[in-house]
Every structure is written in C-alpha cells, then in structure tokens.
Symmetry: C2
DNA sequence: ATTAATGCAAACGATTTGCAATGGG
DNA sequence: CCCATTGCAAATCGTTTGCATTAAT
C-alpha cells in the first residue's frame, strides 16, 4: 500500500542505469524497472522471480513473468546477481555477488545475509588437484525457537 | 553390466533390514531393494531419485518412479537420509545425515563428500535470538581446471 | 535498418497426488 | 482382515522456449 519510494527516485533510476550500463546490458523499460527494484536503494536484496514479478506490477509497470525469468538469467550471466538455490522449490537472486553466508528461515522460506564478519572458515577442504573452487555456499538453516 | 555385488549379498540385505527397522519402516520388497542400494555396502552415498530408480531396475527389481520419490521422502522424514539441493534441477539424498561439507562438480553435477576433518569453521554467525540453527550446509563448488 | 528484447502460450522436467489394486503384520 | 504401501496416470510447480511483435541503437 505504501507508495513512498525508499530513496530519491532519480537517484534510484540513476543507480539502475549505471548498474545495467556497467554490464553492457541495454536499458530497456522492463530491465530498468527490475533493476531499480533490485539495486535502486543500494541495499542488498534476495528475491525470487515471483516476488520480483509481483513487485514490478505493484509499481504499475507491465512485465511478463517470462521476461522476469529471462532477465534474471541475463543479470546472473552478466555477474550482476548471484543465483542461490536452497531447497528444491525456486531459486533466489542475490544482488551481492561475492561468497558470503546466508540465513535461511525454514518456516517462511526467507533468505537473508548472515553477518559476514562473524563467519570464519579456518580450513577449507583442499579441492582435488584438477579442480578450482568456483565458489563456496554456506547456508545456515534457522528454525524458529519453540516451533 | 557387472553383476558382481559389492559385498556379501546377505550382509547387504541384513544391513538394509536393520536400517529400515531402526526407523520403524516396514520392510517391503521395494523399500528393501532401495535400502540395499543405499546402505548395502556401508559406504556413504549421494543419489538422485532418477539414479536410484535406474539402479533398482538394473538389479531386476520392479519399482515405480513415484514410489522411489515417495520412499526417499519417507526415508528423509525418518531421518535415514538427508536431502540436499545444490542447484535448481533435482535434489540429492545423502545417506550421511550429520552436518558435513560437500564438493559439487559443476560440469558433471556430481555431489560428493568433502573431507570433513579439513573443514573448520572458527566462528559461525550467531543466529537471531528467536532462532535455533537447524543445520549448516556447506557446498564447495568445483570447476575442472582449464575448462 | 539491424539486432536484441519482449510477451504469450505451449513445452518442460522434477516432483507430487488421487485413487484403485496389492500386500504385510 | 485391516491398514500401509504401491503403481499408474494425471496434476502441479517453477522455469524455459519458440516464435511473431516491438523497441533500442
């Protein structure tokens, strides 16, 4: 219901534009709308395709669900977002693209950043000789107390 | 094509029987067949439903794919296996049910145990006050060198 | 103009479910 | 015998794709 933008609208648009431009992606109307929802306020975000689709429509923008999926894949391949799958049903897209731990609420299926500074992996298993580590995913599954 | 059982057939059957019994699950013909494939030789295993289905048929056992799925879910709920989802398409079932790190080969989509002893998490982010940690999933994604 | 991006609807693959048939305890 | 388990086929869910239309550069 709240129509108040989180930050100055022009700044949000500006950020989205730079974000797309930096990856060499054409700033179409729908990409811009999606990008604004993702990085408009500069905060990190974990969204599902469905969520983004709904959010976009709420702003009055017209986008098809297929385009949301295709766009998220494009963003992902361009390195703008990172795809994370935590349980079989649906994946999340994280605007923060470096290795960092996540909290996952099992009851609400919400994904959030865990404080990075508090994770310290002292020793990581050495990869087999013919392999490089592409990335390390750490998901801390949370259960509400007294559930 | 190899018809040679990995271990003594009776021992394998025996193990499967105890495994099911310990969880209070009725040892039907198909559950027994699946259980043998999973724990018959005492080694830890990471299987997909499709793999298990195929493996079962190769032994000449008749099982429906639906039953494989339902049975894996039953095993999972009984705490006999742990379900792991690493990327959107399909989940793995691990016969080892404690927290431990995994290697994931991005090119072949294979999941394997990473040497546990080599992982050391010095500090884990503290869970929010109203939450308990249900489990911690660590997946080390591997990319073949020079790919 | 040329080429890429969009939207729809149909296609998809993994998993689940309804329900009748079967089989353990 | 009774209730759990099975199997099949149809249903579901998230995601992708083919292709004609539209919009960027």
């Amino acid at each position: 219901m709240s129509e108040k933008p989180a930050t100055h609208p022009d700044l949000s648009r500006e950020r989205a534009l730079r974000w797309l431009g930096g990856a060499g992606l054409r700033p179409t109307r729908q990409r811009l709308a999606l990008a604004e929802l993702l990085v408009g306020d500069g905060r990190d975000r974990h969204v599902t395709a469905e969520w983004l689709f709904a959010a976009c429509r709420n702003q009055g923008e017209t986008v098809s669900l297929a385009t949301v999926y295709n766009t998220l894949r494009a963003f992902s391949e361009a390195g703008l977002v990172r795809e994370i799958t935590v349980d079989g049903s649906g994946s999340y897209f994280d605007t923060r693209t470096d290795d960092h731990p996540h909290f996952y609420w099992e009851d609400t299926a919400e994904l959030a950043d865990a404080p990075t500074s508090d994770l310290e992996i002292a020793r990581l298993p050495a990869p087999p000789a013919d392999a490089d580590i592409a990335r390390v995913d750490v998901v801390i599954r949370l259960r509400r107390k007294g559930a």
